[in-house]
C-alpha cells in the first residue's frame, strides 16, 4: 500500500468535498426554509458559471467585476425562480413543487444551449497556478484554491445565518411557519431570501467547478453528486451538508483512484444506500421529512 499516494488522493477528495459542501449548503438553505427539494441545484450551478463566462469572456469584464456580477445575477435568477415558479405553488403537495424543479432543470439546460450552444467552454483562469505541496503530497492548485474559496464562503454563510436577523428569521421559519408569522417575520420574504442566497452560493460553486473542469450544458450532473451529499447528510441539516460533502468527495476520489473513474458514482451511491439503510433521514436529518 502506497501511503503517500493514499494521502494525496484523500487530500484531493477532501478538497473536492469542500465544493460539494458549498453546493449542498445552497440546496439545504432552500430546503430548510421552504421544504422544496430543488432537483435543479446542479443546473443553477451551471447558470451561475455561464453568467460568469458571459461577463468575463464575452464582455471581457475584469475578474473583480465579473465574479460579483455573476453572483448577483444568479441571486436575481433565484429570486425570479422563487417568485414565478415556487411561490404560486405555496400550499400545493410537495410532489408538485418537486416536479416543477425537475422541469426547471430542463428549462435551464435549454436556455444555456440556446444562448451559449452545447459546446464545452473554458472559463478564464483566475486562481494561482503554483503547485501546492502539503508534505510530500501534490495537490492541483485549482482544486486547492477552489476548496479554500469554498471554505471561506461556507464560514461566511454560517456566520451570517447565525447572527444576522435574516438568518434567525430563516431558522425560525424553518422551524414553524405559523409561529414565524405571529412574531412578525415576513415569511414570503424569507422564502425569497433563501432562494436568492441559494442562487448566489450555487453560482460561486459553479464558477469554481467550471474553472476546474470547464463548463458545458451538461455540467448539471454535478448536481447529482450534490443530491447524494444532501441525502446522506440529511436534507435539512447544515452540518450534514458539510460532513456529507467531505465524505462523498473523499469516497469519489478514492473510488476514482483505486477502482477507476467509472466506479465513482457507483461507490457514492453504495454509500448512499448504506447510510439510508441505517439512518433513513440521513446522518443529521430531522426525523419528520416527508417522502416523495
Amino acid at each position: 500500500m502506497d501511503w503517500a499516494y493514499l494521502f494525496e488522493i484523500s487530500l484531493t477528495g477532501i478538497a473536492g468535498g469542500g465544493l460539494y459542501a458549498l453546493a449542498a449548503l445552497a440546496f439545504v438553505m432552500v430546503y430548510k426554509a421552504t421544504r422544496v427539494v430543488n432537483i435543479a441545484i446542479g443546473e443553477m450551478l451551471m447558470a451561475g458559471a455561464y453568467l460568469f463566462f458571459t461577463f468575463a469572456s464575452m464582455f471581457a469584464l475584469p475578474l473583480w467585476l465579473a465574479i460579483p456580477a455573476a453572483v448577483l445575477g444568479a441571486g436575481l435568477l433565484g429570486a425570479v425562480i422563487e417568485r414565478t415558479m415556487i411561490r404560486p405553488l405555496l400550499g400545493e403537495p410537495p410532489i408538485s413543487v418537486f416536479m416543477v424543479t425537475v422541469g426547471l432543470a430542463s428549462v435551464l439546460v435549454g436556455l444555456v444551449e440556446m444562448i451559449w450552444t452545447a459546446d464545452q467552454r473554458r472559463l478564464p483562469d483566475f486562481m494561482p497556478t503554483k503547485p501546492i505541496m502539503i508534505g510530500d503530497a501534490f495537490l492541483a492548485p485549482k482544486v486547492f484554491w477552489g476548496a479554500m474559496i469554498a471554505v471561506v464562503f461556507i464560514a461566511a454563510v454560517l456566520l451570517v445565518f447565525r447572527f444576522w436577523r435574516g438568518g434567525v428569521a430563516l431558522r425560525a421559519t424553518a422551524s414553524d411557519q405559523a409561529a414565524a408569522y405571529s412574531v412578525g417575520i415576513n415569511v414570503p420574504r424569507v422564502f425569497s431570501l433563501a432562494w436568492v442566497a441559494s442562487g448566489m452560493l450555487a453560482a460561486i460553486s459553479g464558477i469554481i467547478v467550471g474553472s476546474i473542469g470547464g463548463i458545458s450544458s451538461s455540467m448539471g450532473v454535478f448536481g447529482l453528486s450534490v443530491l447524494v451529499v444532501v441525502i446522506v447528510g440529511g436534507l435539512d441539516s447544515v452540518l450534514g451538508a458539510l460532513i456529507g460533502g467531505l465524505l462523498i468527495g473523499l469516497i469519489e476520489a478514492l473510488a476514482g483512484a483505486y477502482l477507476g473513474g467509472e466506479y465513482k458514482l457507483l461507490a457514492t451511491f453504495i454509500v448512499l444506500v448504506a447510510v439510508l439503510l441505517v439512518r433513513p433521514y440521513g446522518l443529521f436529518g430531522t426525523h419528520e421529512i416527508e417522502r416523495l
Binding site: 447572527f163 444576522w164 434567525v168 425560525a172 414553524d176 409561529a179 408569522y181 405571529s182 412574531v183
Partner: protein
C-alpha cells in the same frame, strides 16, 4: 354596549368561506381596550378560523377587521404582528429545537433594527438593542410567567403546560396591545389552569394588555371575562357579560345540546 371608549379591535360583519363552506358568517363584535374578551362555542363553531382571520392568515370574503379604528383587513399577517397583535396557537407553535430564551427573543424580532454588518461585528445599535432586549425579556417576562428555571431548556423537552406558557411569553415579548390566546388552558390540569388564569388576569392588570381568548373551559371563561362572544356554526348567537350569556337559552342549547333548558342552565351555572 355601555362603554364609552372606542373599541381597540373591531370585527365587522366578517364572512369567511373555504370553497363553498362558510366558516364564518357576518361575525361582528368589539374588543374594548383593557378588557378580557372571550370567544366560546362548540367544536367547529369557527373560533380558530376567526382568530386566524383576525391575525391575517385567512382573508375574509367580506367584512372588515379594524384595529384602533384603522382597517387592517388587507394588512399581511407579519405586519399585523408588528402593529401589536400578539397571539398564541391552539396546537402550540413554538420554534422547536431552540431554547425557551431563544423563542422569547424571537418575539422581539419584529422590533429589532440591526443590519448584517452590525450583527456580524456586534457593534453600536446591535449591541444596545441586544442589551435592552435582554433586560426587557429577562427581567419582566420570564419573572412574570415564572419560567426562570427553564430558560435554557429546549422547548421540545417541556411539558404541555409550560410550552403554553412559553408561547405566551413569546407573544408578550412582542409588547402587543392585544394578546390573542387560542385555548390557553386546553389540556391542562387544574393547577396549571389556575396558574394560567392568574397570568391572564395579571397581563391585563400589570401590563395593560387587552386580552382576546378562545377557550373551552367554561369556568375560566365566566370567571375572567368582561365580555363573552358565543359562536355556533360560524355565527354569533349571543354576546354580552358572562351572566347575560349564561342565561341565554340559545347558548345553552348550542353548548349542551337539546334538552330541558332550565336543567341545563343549572348545570352550566354549577360549572361556572
Amino acid at each position: 354596549m355601555e362603554t364609552t371608549s372606542s373599541p381597540l379591535l373591531q370585527v365587522d360583519g366578517v364572512t369567511l368561506a373555504f370553497g363553498g363552506v362558510k366558516a364564518l358568517t357576518g361575525v361582528g363584535f368589539d374588543v374594548r381596550p383593557g378588557s378580557i374578551t372571550a370567544v366560546i362555542g362548540p367544536n367547529g363553531a369557527g373560533k380558530t378560523s376567526l382568530f386566524n382571520t383576525i391575525s391575517g392568515f385567512y382573508k375574509p370574503a367580506s367584512g372588515a377587521i379594524r384595529f384602533k379604528g384603522e382597517d387592517i383587513t388587507h394588512v399581511p399577517a407579519p405586519q399585523r404582528a408588528r402593529m401589536g397583535l400578539g397571539r398564541s396557537f391552539q396546537n402550540i407553535a413554538l420554534f422547536r429545537g431552540m431554547t425557551v430564551l431563544d423563542n422569547i427573543k424571537l418575539g422581539r424580532h419584529a422590533h429589532l433594527k440591526t443590519n448584517v454588518l452590525d450583527a456580524l461585528f456586534y457593534i453600536g445599535r446591535a449591541r444596545r438593542e441586544e442589551a435592552a432586549l435582554r433586560r426587557d425579556v429577562e427581567e419582566r417576562i420570564i419573572d412574570f410567567l415564572e419560567i426562570d428555571h427553564i430558560r435554557h431548556a429546549p422547548v421540545s423537552a417541556l411539558s404541555y403546560g409550560l410550552q403554553k406558557r412559553v408561547e405566551m411569553a413569546r407573544a408578550l415579548a412582542m409588547q402587543p396591545q392585544i394578546l390573542m390566546l387560542d385555548e390557553p388552558v386546553a389540556g391542562m390540569n387544574r393547577e396549571e389552569t389556575e396558574d394560567m388564569a392568574r397570568f391572564i388576569l395579571d397581563v391585563r392588570e400589570e401590563w395593560g394588555v387587552t386580552v382576546l381568548m378562545v377557550e373551552h373551559d367554561m369556568g375560566m371563561v365566566m370567571d375572567l371575562s368582561d365580555h363573552v362572544v358565543v359562536l355556533n356554526f360560524g355565527q354569533v348567537i349571543a354576546q354580552g357579560t358572562p351572566a347575560q350569556v349564561q342565561a341565554d337559552p340559545e347558548v345553552i342549547r348550542a353548548y349542551l345540546g337539546a334538552g330541558d333548558v332550565g336543567d341545563l342552565r343549572a348545570k352550566l351555572q354549577r360549572a361556572a
